[in-house]
Assembly symmetry: C2
Homo-oligomer: 180 residues x 2
């Protein structure tokens, strides 16, 4: 599939409503359950997505589009949310994420990016030069990967409840060595 | 986590709205893209979930709760949707799924199942005796597994667009040998 900016913004716009439907008011053991030590619960994932809105995707897009000679991205803290959200509720994080995402997409839409601008590059701290197009595609994939993760982590809380169905439900045995 | 009927019904109730947010009006290549031959696109998954509402979960629950001496489940056709939905739109399938799910949950709620009833058994065509509790837990896990699948399959349509991010996005390389 060729990258299409409108389709990509369309997917990014769906994520807050998807998470609302899946998570608002969810029972505590489902909201806080994870796949083992150092892995993310649904609560953690929403916090991580908020961090992405505030410190990752749009921050890096602005660097690429800036007049600065130095296009290096600032490394992104995948665990900022842990300390930040200690006293927060999941429902308040969902509202905050929806607000941040709406603001970011309004800004992104306002840029009316051309194909030439999508070819502009920044420098990723790990893998070097990346285009704005690749950054925006990675944002979309990052959202979808974390939606898949939330559904998988919720499913795994039922792993002892399905009895003989376990081998027929691949989502229960995906990521035996968990990755967050 | 111990099986809780109310929490399980709560998750089952979320699925139509989750799929609405993720899929209604989605661009054709994203709606129809899959992970390779014989795997499900998002369109296929919604059709498969409709088949589940009409021929699988509640049908089997009714068999378990019936007065019949024979509690054998009828084998379930995982590919019924392929012929059934040839002329359908995704949006019409989403509406149909939401209606069927609402009806099924109204019936399930109306049963006011006791712990004793949740222990009752039926006979699965592949793995033999299963309890009503296990059947309902499997229904929940089945929903969540297919939500994860839809997000993963959508993400994979971007696999050539993210450039050097690929190895850092596990959702793109999950299920190298695809399972539907």
């Amino acid at each position: 599939m060729r990258f299409d900016l409108d389709n990509s913004i369309d997917i990014l716009r769906r994520t807050p409503a998807t998470l609302e439907a899946l998570l608002r008011g969810l029972a505590e053991p489902l909201m806080r359950g994870n796949e083992g030590q150092e892995t993310f619960s649904p609560f953690d994932v929403v916090g991580h997505l908020i961090d992405g809105e505030e410190t990752d995707w749009m921050t890096r897009a602005r660097i690429i589009l800036s007049d600065s000679a130095d296009k290096s991205f600032i490394p992104y803290d995948r665990f900022r949310h842990r300390a930040r959200n200690v006293d927060r509720t999941l429902d308040s994080l969902l509202s905050e994420f929806a607000r941040l995402r709406a603001d970011n997409l309004a800004e992104l839409n306002g840029w009316r990016l051309t194909e030439q601008q999508l070819d502009l590059k920044g420098v990723h701290p790990t893998f070097g030069p990346v285009t704005l197009r690749e950054l925006l595609a990675a944002w979309v994939v990052h959202d979808l990967g974390h939606i898949a993760q939330i559904a998988r982590v919720m499913a795994k809380q039922y792993r002892d409840e399905v009895g003989p169905w376990t081998p027929f439900m691949p989502v229960l045995t995906d990521h035996e060595v968990p990755r967050s």
